[in-house]
């Protein structure tokens, strides 16, 4: 791998931060249309580059305020080419090629050019030099139209065909030569390509490996020894189906697959990105996703609810709850809540929501379009701001009373009777706790007043230096008593704040709602919210809309129509993107390897026909994920061994044609959960809050007068959190993952700032140090060795057999027995024996066979 690629394009890398970089400087109030003019002479790419990267930002930032729409100081406008050509009251502002004769340059140098005044802004030397250089070049200026829409006003939709934008086809599974190999259509698509390339598919893997593979892939947990034995002994042709149906029906399935979705959401139990602001209700969204996967909620419905659940009809209170909770999708990500500039803050949230919809449902990078038409894909600035109007018409945040902080909006959930009864009971108990604390406060406040009174008496009736004893002691004792009471009172104050904070008030979830007056939004010039341009009607992405899109009724945000449009059958992307992601989780690579990006710069699918066949099946089967997964894991292809084959590896080193199964290292959750399961520490869990905010030591900033919001520290965990699956542990955004979840920090858990459909899988020394030395791994090795030694078994051989069945889910081999015996027999002393068993388990739990799914 050569780290230094020469290939790069300055214009090709335009970016989000530019918007902010500009916006945080001087406010530019508004701009409107100027006079269009005939196309300008040819501008070279280098010139355009200079203009776009240096000159335009500078003009916007420093000049437009006084020489734009709002003001035309000295009669001069600098927001179009026509503007400087016409010039101000004293004539043209500049002479192309002649900076030294140009009034503009003179003016910014602080001189008084003939008939003009000097500039009101002070430009730095470098800024002046940029302008001078531009004029020297001949002032190449692409601004035909005046800036209202940013870079390109009306670039035509690039209709050039790109495979991902074409309608989904329903290809027939091809004929194959070896008709004995395929079990179904998937296999025929794969085999026909392999045959065309003269590559034989790998032989079936052994039953134990298949069982471990499918159990880990579907549930994130390994099979138990009993499950292994049962499967190996089941000779019926339905054996695999029985396993798969059992796994799909288990709760563990949702706990595994929900996490894949949360990776795309940037889920965390924290609001914003700084100051450890807790998101105490985020878990409701996490549990909703688990429920959705376990109940096999049709994926189109899943999309709808996350975009517009609050606007959808619901037939039961529970459904209504879920639909409201689902919109947390739009809010539980990398959203900044501490910007003083609220206009900026809201625009950033809208941008986040557009990016998320783009990545999660469409496999497109829509963030780029905030500032300009997409450089590679036919997505227009107008498409972006059409969607921006929809999200800007939805309420996501509100301004708090603390400092410059905002917070994320919540909605009260309708409660079924049982929930309400439970909560009211909790509220009663809570109220009595509060009354007790208040009574205590009154008692101590009275005592303090008494002590203070005595103290005044003692001090006033005593000559300086002479203490007078009362029955409560002298001045020293009274002062000590006073200090003690004050301390108690301040602790109690904090306790009361904390009680108020955790009061089981209404049941709420993070959720959006439509604003009172939904409206179309305006383009912001180069993403600068203080430079609004033309108003754009709310709408969607043109290139994905062969038919007219649904009309947005007045008085609504348009989220409901957005949801409908997303899952419309003529929008080819959501189904393709989703089946490809599912494929990636099961085969280790997507058919399109750039799983989050289906644009023109992404990879083409290795098997386009198979991808479309899967997408069609998926939609025809009611967007059922379970049916699709079932179909894939029961294929012959999924049974292939992952064994290396030198010749095939030379011809297809990346295994793009799938001549074998790809191996993969267990991801962070799977690794921790598997360790817990094998050591016997794992317990099942109904979900619920992650942050343990009922421990006062976990909550800071409770004083209502603080300028920063309430924060969390996670000093203390519920004991059970050490035994629960990793998905239920708190996720933080700005620091290392805490406590029982520390393993996430090391094994490629994606930072919750990312929206990541695929995780990387690295091998670095810090992981090895963890596996060699951490308390975590050692305690589980110890637990496992104790378990195996406590089994009512006669000899080491049976113990080792059981151990291998439990840890690696297969029988031990003779060679391994030999190695193990040598290792264990090194000492006969009982304690040392136990130590050796623990060490043996430790080695087993950090071995490649344990860390990988083959």
């Amino acid at each position: 791998m050569n780290p230094v690629t020469v290939e790069h394009s300055l214009l090709g890398t335009n970016c989000l931060d530019l918007a902010r970089a500009l916006a945080v400087r001087i406010a530019i109030v508004s701009l409107a249309f100027g006079c269009p003019e005939a196309a300008h002479a040819e501008i070279s790419p280098q010139q355009l580059q200079l203009f776009e990267s240096k000159v335009r930002p500078l003009l916007i930032d420093r000049c437009y305020e006084c020489h734009g729409t709002k003001q035309q100081s000295g009669g001069l406008r600098l927001d179009s080419r026509a503007g400087w050509k016409k010039g101000g009251d004293s004539g043209p502002a500049l002479i192309p090629g002649r900076p030294e004769q140009s009034r503009l340059i003179e003016a910014v140098r602080g001189r008084h050019p003939a008939g003009a005044t000097s500039s009101k802004v002070t430009l730095s030397e470098r800024e002046i030099e940029i302008l001078a250089e531009w004029v020297r070049m001949g002032a190449p200026d692409p601004r035909d139209d005046v800036a209202p829409t940013g870079i390109q006003a009306q670039s035509p939709i690039d209709r050039k065909k790109h495979w991902a934008f074409e309608p989904v086809a329903r290809p027939e599974p091809p004929r194959v030569r070896d008709s004995s190999w395929p079990l179904g259509s998937i296999d025929r698509f794969l085999l026909s390509k392999l045959e065309a390339n003269q590559l034989p598919p790998a032989p079936d893997t052994d039953p134990c490996t298949w069982l471990r593979r499918v159990t880990l892939d579907l549930t994130g947990l390994p099979p138990t020894p009993e499950e292994v034995t049962a499967f190996v002994g089941d000779n019926s042709p339905k054996a695999q189906e029985r396993v798969v149906d059992r796994l799909l029906a288990s709760v563990a399935f949702g706990e595994r697959w929900a996490r894949h979705w949360l990776d795309l959401v940037g889920y965390a139990d924290q609001l914003g990105t700084v100051n450890d602001v807790p998101a105490p209700h985020a878990w409701r969204y996490r549990d909703y996703v688990i429920r959705a996967f376990n109940s096999d909620k049709p994926f189109d419905q899943f999309i709808r609810e996350q975009v517009a659940g609050d606007l959808l009809p619901a037939s039961s209170v529970e459904m209504q709850q879920d639909a409201i909770i689902a919109t947390g999708f739009l809010l539980l990500g990398e959203i900044h809540i501490v910007t003083a500039d609220k206009l900026q803050l809201r625009a950033d949230i809208v941008d986040h929501q557009i990016q998320k919809v783009g990545t999660a449902f469409l496999g497109l990078t829509l963030g780029c379009v905030r500032c300009h038409d997409h450089k590679f894909d036919p997505v227009l600035l107008r498409d972006y701001y059409g969607m921006a109007g929809i999200f800007a018409s939805s309420e996501s945040s509100y301004v708090t009373e603390r400092g410059v902080w905002s917070s994320i909006r919540t909605s009260e959930l309708p409660e079924p009777l049982w929930q309400r009864t439970e909560r009211e009971e909790a509220l009663r108990q809570h109220a009595s706790k509060r009354v007790n604390a208040q009574n205590e406060r009154t008692k101590w406040t009275n005592q303090l007043a008494e002590v203070n009174g005595k103290l005044t008496n003692v001090v006033s009736s005593t000559e300086p230096g002479k203490a007078l004893a009362t029955k409560d002691g002298g001045e020293t004792e009274l002062k000590a008593k006073k200090a003690e009471l004050e301390k108690k009172l301040s602790t109690l104050e904090a306790t009361l704040w904390h009680l108020d904070y955790i009061e089981p008030k209404a049941t709420v979830a993070y959720s959006v709602r439509d604003v009172d007056q939904p409206a179309d939004g305006r383009i912001t010039i180069r993403g600068n919210v203080h430079a609004p341009g033309e108003t754009v009607p709310r709408g969607f992405i043109r290139v994905l809309s062969p038919a007219p899109w649904p009309e947005i009724p007045s008085g609504t945000s348009g989220r409901s129509q957005l949801a409908d449009w997303l899952v419309r059958t003529d929008n080819p992307l959501p189904a393709r993107v989703t089946v490809n992601r599912i494929w990636e989780k099961l085969f280790g690579e997507g058919l399109v390897r750039t799983v989050d990006y289906f644009g023109t710069r992404g990879e083409r699918p290795s098997h386009p026909d198979l991808l479309d066949w899967l997408a069609t099946e998926f939609v025809q089967n009611g967007w059922s994920q379970k049916r699709l997964i079932r179909e894939i894991v029961l294929s012959r292809a999924y049974r292939m061994s992952s064994k290396h084959h030198p010749e095939a590896a030379t011809r297809d080193p990346d295994n793009r044609l799938l001549w074998r199964m790809n191996r993969r290292r267990l991801d962070a959750e799977s690794l921790r959960d598997t360790l817990l399961s094998v050591s016997g520490a794992l317990q099942s869990n109904p979900g619920g809050p992650a942050l343990a905010l009922q421990y006062v030591e976990n909550v800071g900033g409770l004083n209502p007068k603080d300028v920063n919001p309430v924060s969390f520290r996670l000093n203390k965990y519920h004991e059970w959190q050490h035994h629960y699956r990793t998905i239920y542990l708190p996720v933080v955004r700005s620091a290392a993952q805490p406590g029982p979840a520390e393993l996430r920090n090391l094994f490629d858990f994606p930072p919750p700032t990312e929206m990541a459909g695929q995780r990387s899988s690295t091998s670095v020394a810090t992981q090895a140090l963890f596996l060699m030395n951490s308390e975590f791994i050692k305690s589980h090795a110890q637990r496992l060795s104790e378990w195996v030694l406590n089994q009512p078994l006669q000899d080491d051989r049976s113990r080792l057999e059981l151990l291998y069945l439990r840890a690696l889910n297969r029988p031990v081999t003779d060679a391994e027995l030999e190695i193990a015996r040598k290792f264990l027999d090194i000492d006969t002393n009982d304690d040392k024996q136990r130590g050796s068993w623990t060490a043996f388990c430790h080695a087993l739990l950090s071995s490649n066979e344990f860390l990988f799914r083959l």
Binding site: A27, S53, S124, R126, T365, R593, A736, V764, A765
Partner: protein
């Protein structure tokens, strides 16, 4: 997702072959540096790479002053603030900079006296007396500029160039570009690192380039300088026996199922971990340093001990061939009572930072080491009082990204130079503005890279440390 994913090795048996032919137990392989280097050359992305053009600097030591040191009291002397002290600030700002605690805000003059120092006449305040003695060795930049006024986002921008999206830290970019010279240590070490792990993260670059956190002053034998560095419970011989068993298992598996780049990578990561475990304790053990050196830094004395240890370790890691070393000195966030807080912070940091410079110089390391001292932003010329009740003497200053100061020294940097000018209030830059992107471009330039060509393909496009920005600040180059 990245498009330069590791693909299967064309000779997938190389690693296995290597392990077998050396026919050694794990420990002996691990300790043999020569073999380690051979192994690295095949599959290790950290093997030293060549830069685009001959470089002045081979490594970077970045002293990060977390919180935002006040340039008005240290480096950027503005007599006008003194003249207008106590008056409502008459500073032309756009209004959106105003945050909290400014109802009671006034112009606040420097809290210490300033004087020209050294041959160069570089102006500095009395609060950094040690730095004043090396004024002719450093280049003072008074015109840095950033885009964000909240700590975390500004800190992210300083470290990664971005704050709205997750990007690799500059240390990770440097590791990616140059690899490292010591295969027994990480290429990027961050000492007393900020809690936000994104500041030393590798984002989409391979994780091997991420910063390794190191605690310079462990609180006891159980508090390790690097997390999980040692097995605290079992003796080393036990551990070796266990690791030999583990590698036997791993070898047996590879034989059974055939080569696999990633599995070979895991085997190698255990070897590196074992070497790190052996190497790091020696490096962090300061007992072999002379008393004179310890005194120079201020080790064992308060208030310098913590930072002194960190700076001395930075020198030791630089000598050992680590590519990018960061030392964080936190505590510059003086919103209130800056008259009390700032001098204390200076006392904790001045001697260790300057000792590092002098030590590098006397060992000849300064010639190819770039030393940088900077906060994430500066502070305002007007005062701030969060309580709203204090007199001016107890006020502090608010954050200011519009302009702030930093210094650089060493390889390729013009010594004795004062670069950049701000307006009469020390608010906006009026000459030689150095945006953080320009700073990053310059840093890469000193390491021999064209910042526009050091790229990595991710999510369909080529990314750079400087995004689409940045100009090399040629004015500060020697």
């Amino acid at each position: 997702m990245n498009s330069q994913r590791t693909t299967a090795n064309s000779n997938p048996f190389s690693r296995r072959h290597f392990l077998q032919t050396t026919a050694c137990g794990f420990g002996s392989v691990a300790l043999n540096a020569l073999l380690a280097e051979q192994a690295s050359a095949r599959s290790n992305p950290l093997v030293p790479h060549r830069s685009h053009f001959p470089a002045k600097a081979k490594r970077v030591i970045f002293l990060f002053m977390a919180g935002g040191p006040s340039q008005h009291d240290l480096f950027d002397y503005k007599p006008r603030l003194k003249l207008e002290e106590g008056k409502k600030p008459n500073i032309p700002h756009a209004g959106r900079e105003v945050t909290v605690g400014l109802e009671n805000s006034m112009s606040l003059g420097p809290i210490a006296s300033f004087a020209p120092r050294g041959q160069s006449g570089m102006v500095m305040s009395d609060l950094l007396p040690q730095l004043a003695t090396v004024a002719d060795d450093i280049c003072l930049v008074r015109s840095l500029s950033a885009d964000n006024r909240s700590h975390d986002q500004a800190t992210l921008q300083l470290h990664t160039g971005a704050f709205l999206s997750l990007r690799p830290s500059m240390g990770a970019w440097v590791s990616y570009g140059l690899g490292t010279e010591n295969q027994n240590l990480p290429s990027f070490i961050t000492i007393n690192a900020p809690t936000d792990v994104r500041n030393h993260g590798s984002a989409f670059l391979p994780a091997i380039h991420q910063g390794t956190r190191l605690n310079a002053k462990p609180s006891g034998p159980k508090d390790l300088p690097i997390q999980h560095l040692r097995d605290l419970a079992s003796p080393e011989s036990e551990q070796r026996r266990r690791l030999d068993l583990l590698q036997t298992m791993n070898r047996e598996l590879l034989q059974r199922i055939g080569g696999d780049t990633q599995m070979e990578g895991v085997i190698e990561s255990f070897e590196l971990a074992f070497r790190m475990q052996a190497e790091t304790p020696k490096l962090v053990d300061l007992s072999h340093e002379s008393q004179a050196t310890l005194n120079l830094y201020g080790v064992g004395k308060e208030p310098t001990d913590k930072n002194a240890r960190a700076c001395l370790l930075a020198r030791r890691f630089a000598e050992a061939g680590v590519r990018f070393i960061q030392v964080t000195m936190d505590g510059w966030d003086h919103h209130g009572n800056i008259r009390d807080g700032l001098p204390k912070m200076c006392a904790q940091t001045d001697q260790p930072s300057v000792a590092l410079l002098q030590d590098l110089k006397q060992r000849g390391l300064l010639d190819d080491t770039l030393l940088v001292w900077s906060g994430e932003f500066g502070r305002t010329p007007w005062s701030q009082d969060l309580s709203g009740t204090q007199p001016l003497e107890k006020h502090g200053r608010e954050h200011q990204p519009e302009s702030f100061c930093a210094w650089m020294a060493g390889a390729g940097v013009r010594p004795g130079l004062t670069f950049g000018t701000t307006d009469d209030y020390g608010f906006r830059v009026v000459e030689n503005r150095v945006h953080l992107h320009d700073f990053h471009a310059t840093l890469l330039h000193l390491l021999g890279f064209d910042h526009e060509k050091l790229t990595y393909r991710h999510g369909g496009r080529d990314h750079r440390l400087t995004d689409v920005f940045g100009d090399v600040v040629t004015g500060v180059l020697s």
